[in-house]
Amino acid sequence: MGYPTQYRYSKDHEWIDVKGDIATVGITDYAQSELGDVVFVELPTAGKALTAGKTFGSVESVKAVSDIYAPATGEVVESNATLQQKPESINTDPHGAGWLVKMKLANPADVSSLMDAAAYEAYIAEKKKEASA
């Protein structure tokens, strides 16, 4: 699975897709494969404030809980309600149907400090090398 070039990526393996001042956020393919089969997702309700770098929910597999970190500051507009019944979408389509929240960005320029697809792919290649050492 490739990493969409129009997305930006955080060190915590979230992606953000900006369209104007609304952005969609999810976890990356690397993150879902590390986590395993997702069985449970905890997401904030609309209106909740998000602060860049702070946790705003969690994604759980059978064996682990993974906090999710806001890649930017803003406010939740919508959480992906389908994930309650179908949390496995995060595994099968992490960059699309497995999106977590849509948020209104406080400052769209924040996102430019995140990694682009090429930088993120290099970042996880490093991580994979460390893991197999």
Partner: protein, 391 residues
Amino acid sequence: MDSGNSPNTPTIRKTALNALHRRLGAKMVNFGGWDMPVEYPCSGNLLCEHRAVRSGVGMFDVSHMGDIRIHGAKKPGGALAAVQHLTMNDASRLAIGQAQYSAMLYPSGTFVDDVIVHRLGEDDYLLVINAGTREKDINWVRENTKGMDCQVQDLSDTYTQLAIQGPRAAEVLQKLTDAKLGTVKNYWFTHGTVCSLPNTLIARTGYTGEDGFEIYIPSDVATSERVWNAVMEAGKEFGILACGLGARNTLRLEAKMALYGHEISDEINVWEPGLDRYCHLEKGEFIGRAALVKLKAEGLKRTLVGLEMVDRGIARDGYRCVDENGNEIGAVTSGSPSPTLGKNIALAYVPLAMAALGTPIYVEIRSQRCKAQVVTTPFYKRVKKPLAVSQ
């Protein structure tokens, strides 16, 4: 950042099958100092592995576990005396070829480790112990049998131990051995030729709540890989999958089997997890007996219960349990989604007054109080088929 090269960093240990697991692309984890597979993407990962064991067959590399042989007494009964002194179950009830679940206790009546005791011969016993407590256990056994008439042998590195588990396990293993598996009852064992390896220990034991066998083969890489591959080949028609520690945990939790460091530990006594039936006070002296008698007279303060989540949320190891007023009443020892039940389950220690079935218990899950209720355990019990003796 610790580079791992400091003198105090122990090197991670590997079983003989480590290279094979990595070739299979297993996700690896450090378990008690061992580099072990937690799940195999080629098996479809944890949920697939778990289901394979419940409905067909799966295989685990459990070579990280330890093995202590107690034998070689000058006078008959010396080894038995040592085993009786060290463990809480009554080993004198064992026939040759029989095994029992037991435990070694501290003088306080708390757990050194749980163990499966196998009677190999007239006065010859094999204790199979946990991976994380190998050194502690062997030192404990040596210390506490000093001056006793027996020899203690650490055979932990001698064996590769494979657990073949599930309703089809017997059919798989039967293809590879001349031993008549149909005559081996649950918690009994035999010796037979397995994959041309003579005199191989084949035990009808396991940690999954399913029928299954554990085989003990020489620990050289070539033999270990050959046998692993032979089992996988023999199991193909039954959909055998390689299974890791992730599924091992969900399977044993559903079957309410204790895990050292969780349901049992050096701070938990025998009565609290309800392991009474494996503790035979009447057999005579053993380490911890006096404390257990006293504790029994004092009465239980807390007890292990099964929980099923009512609210959305997964209770996990170590999460606090509170009553409806928010008072802390205990903690979760093990918790996870249950693949078989489709519910989130847990084991927890709670006060006796809150142990009745249906009692609401609240689990603190990341600062939210989520409701659970006390349910019967084990959460899952396999349907036992009558033993086919005529194989």
